[in-house]
């Protein structure tokens, strides 16, 4: 199967500060962490203590409900800290890298891909839909979806990030195809280099090209357009960089959880790419980005941040502290100015620098990036729009309708589904297609929402409720 699919509904935020195509090997990263909170619905069972010596691929904790699912250390070193939150909830297991004093790990037997992935912990990078949890090794998914491009604001360019690892990507896709009785679907944007490089694969691969604005690159959008999920279906998804890690595992027997991340944001010093291992501590990288004159100094001693550091994208990433760690599924670190300022009569002013999906501010009449009169490239003022974390208003009941539909490319009624989730009507949720969505699919709805409702949280809560009732 292959084809081109055009997405018309969506929105590309005109935010400036995307990562420059320059790669730095991040060498001075002292510690790494695996965060149980990155994994939806996980109840962890801790397997190590502070001070334990671990090697790459040693389990730090496992899933209480399925002990085969192991969450492993990305480096050799020792367990430095185990952070807990309220009610002793496990938040982070921090491993300090200590090289050269341990024997190099044995090669992993890759005769069974599933066993190999479970053993080294790569399995946890395989997510299932519905619910967004780590895939269950006993399931046979209907299909596996991999998006080979990202359309989020400040998205990393995988053509650049995957340079030199294309062969591993091929191997990884081949390995994935053994995990499903269905197809492995890979989606590209038009004209992507990776697409041509993958064309010479031996096994039949289903490739699609997705045109159009965000969320064209979201795997959820691609599933909905290629082969939507019905009740009872299970599909798996994997980040394209993790597929390359799988490829390397299969090809060499070595688990090397490396990825190239983009560090980007409108106000930072030198946005570019870094090669890190999963779970890397970001403090050094972030310091290098923020310490300049035009940007207020970071004060790490208290909560006095002037900028927000997000592991992931600005629409659905996780806020981390300036000495925080990269999320398990993230390959983008976004840095945004905080928006804790008052705006005098903000609702009345022309608003030249405010971005809005509606055209209720003067800024709405600025030329779009796709606007090219007579094919001429207009100068773009990417830093013109001011993006920060201000909510631009207080929470209100849902009043305006018809806008969510304009950024939501699913055959689903978003407003009705959100309301069904709010009232907790399970049958209605199922009927309206709750199994086809993840919170990230509603990110744009949440962005444009006039009433400032936390829609992603509503969807997550509803999915968690369904998942628990399913289990119990």
């Amino acid at each position: 199967m292959s084809g081109t699919i055009t997405i018309r509904k969506g929105l590309d935020l005109p935010i400036g500060g995307a990562a420059e195509k320059r790669l730095t090997d991040a060498r001075n990263i002292a510690s790494y962490a695996v965060k149980p909170t990155d994994f939806v619905g996980l109840t962890p069972r801790l397997l190590v203590e502070e001070g334990d010596i671990v090697t790459i691929g040693d389990a730090l904790f496992c899933d209480k409900n399925d002990e085969r699912i192991r969450f492993t250390s990305p480096v050799n070193g020792c367990v430095k800290a185990i952070h807990r939150g309220e009610k002793r909830k496990l938040l982070e297991v921090v491993v300090e890298e200590k090289a050269n004093n341990l024997p190099s790990p044995n090669k992993i037997d890759t005769s069974s891909i599933k066993e190999a992935m479970l053993q080294c912990g790569l399995w946890t990078k395989l997510r299932q839909r519905p619910f967004g949890t780590v895939a269950n090794p006993d399931d046979m998914p209907k299909a596996i979806f991999v998006s080979a491009f990202s359309s989020v604001p400040l998205a990393p360019d995988y053509d650049f990030a995957m340079q030199g690892r294309e062969a591993y990507l091929k191997k990884g896709l081949e390995a994935l195809s053994q995990l499903t009785k269905g197809k492995v679907h890979v989606s590209f944007r038009p004209g992507q280099k990776l697409a041509t490089q993958l064309s010479s694969l031996h096994f039949p691969l289903s490739t699609f090209t997705f045109k159009g604005p965000h969320p064209a690159g979201n795997v959820g959008t691609q599933i909905a357009k290629i082969d939507p999920i019905n009740k009872g279906d299970i599909v798996w998804t994997m980040n394209v960089q993790d597929v390359a890690v799988l490829g390397e595992l299969v090809a060499t027997g070595v688990y090397n959880p490396e990825k190239v991340i983009a560090v980007a944001g409108p106000n930072i010093k030198n946005a570019h790419y870094y090669r890190v291992k999963t779970g890397a501590c970001l403090s050094e990288i972030i310091k290098a980005q923020l310490l300049n004159d035009s940007f207020p100094k970071m004060d790490t001693s208290d909560n006095h941040h002037e900028s927000r550091i997000i592991s992931g994208d600005i629409l659905c990433g996780t806020q981390i502290t300036s000495d925080g760690f990269l999320g398990a599924y993230d390959d983008l670190v976004s840095i945004l100015p905080e928006g804790n300022y008052y705006d005098f009569m903000g609702w009345m002013m022309p608003g030249l620098r405010k971005h809005s999906f509606s055209r209720t501010f003067l800024s709405g009449f600025m030329p779009k990036s796709t606007f090219k009169p007579l094919g001429i490239d207009l100068p773009r003022f990417e830093h013109f729009w001011r993006f920060d974390t201000n909510t631009h208003g207080d929470e209100r009941p849902l009043v305006f309708t018809g806008n969510f539909e304009r950024v939501f490319p699913f055959d689903i009624y978003p407003t009705q589904l959100i309301k069904a989730c709010l009232v907790g009507d399970i049958e209605l949720m199922e009927n309206l297609g709750i199994y086809e969505v993840e919170p990230e699919d509603f990110a744009l709805c949440e962005y444009i929402d006039t009433s400032k409702t936390d829609i992603q949280q509503i969807i997550r809560d509803a999915l968690e409720r369904l998942r628990k009732e399913d289990v119990g």
């Binding site: 009569m345 609702w347 631009h392 009624y413 990110a443 009433s451």
Partner: protein, 414 residues
Amino acid sequence: MNGKRKTENGILSALEKWFEVHEPKGKWAWLGSTYEAFHTFAFTPNRVTTKGCHVRDAIDLKRAMIIVVFALMPAMLFGMWNIGYQASLHATDWPYPLGSVASWIFCFVFGFIRMLPMLAVSYTVGLTIEFAFAQLRHHQVNEGFLVTGFIIPMIMPVTTPLWQLALATAFAVIIGKEVFGGTGMNFLNPALVARAFLFFAYPTRMSGDSVWVAADFWGTDAFTGATPLGELAAGIQPSTSALDMFLGTIPGSTCESSVIAILLGAILLLVTGIASWRIMLSVVLGGGLMGLFFNLLTTLNLPLLSTLNPQLSTYLQLPFYYHYLMGGFMFGAVFMATDPVTAAQTNTGKWIYGLLIGLFAVLLRVVNPAYPEGMMLSILLMNCFAPLIDHCVVARNIKKRKKRAIVKSKAAVQ
């Protein structure tokens, strides 16, 4: 609270400070909602995102509502002038000759002085109730009444006594909105509830020929000046030209007569994306279709029709576009039918909802002479049916999804 980015401007930072210092605490804490309302009026809050999207669109409910108020402005300003103009036409002792600059200004001032108390009463009564309910519920005060309070005086006859206006506003806010939980939860358009209340409670004040033209600055005395709809209901050809109706220089409710002023507002609403173009277009289409259908009936010349109602034939022959120009059709289509809370919420539903509003509005006007203006009742009727329309539209989507699952499972079995 996180570190605040201070405003450079001295006056503004002083105001920021004033609000911070005067945040109600202790025995005044119950005034929280009122304080919040004024604080967020002066400053968009410094709230930052905590979960989900880290950035948010610049629009909020205040912005959306103020855009609607801006869109209502042309109609409001024209309406003020027209109040004075209509008075000058029908008065015998008008102080200025028509056509002079002084009379233009005087007409406007006359209308302004008539409208101002109506606006004041509508806002005072409505906002008092809104604030009281918000305080009672410990909710924030909603911006919905910014628009409702502005519209209510615009759709009343100019001679409406202020106490009736106050009563209608109170009824609309309490029964039309707050009993259902406030803005966003009501199923009837509150401004239309206010009008319907007066229409049925004090019919002589809301219809007939002698309520549309004000006689003096302050009182409720009126001159006789029939609206085109009133004339037609009586079986007479309208005495005003189509151009006058389009411009709005005719008697009618205070601010709904000028189609051109309403269209200016419509342009703003459509350009900003605040109101649904689907609803506006489909209301106009629906009204036009019904008008054309009546025109068709006359050409068929069925003998049955004249036996029904002798006055009907004038109405049936009326060119269909007259319906757009008369009464509150355009005002309803642009500002009332598009109310996002009470309209259908699905895109397909919006088409059906709008078409039916247009159809029923013209049907009521023509066939039922007891209600010369069908628009109000038509919109209220379809407000009631909007949830049903949505239900049917959504049911189709549900059916499609179920069918897809069945096809898949059958394929899997084979």
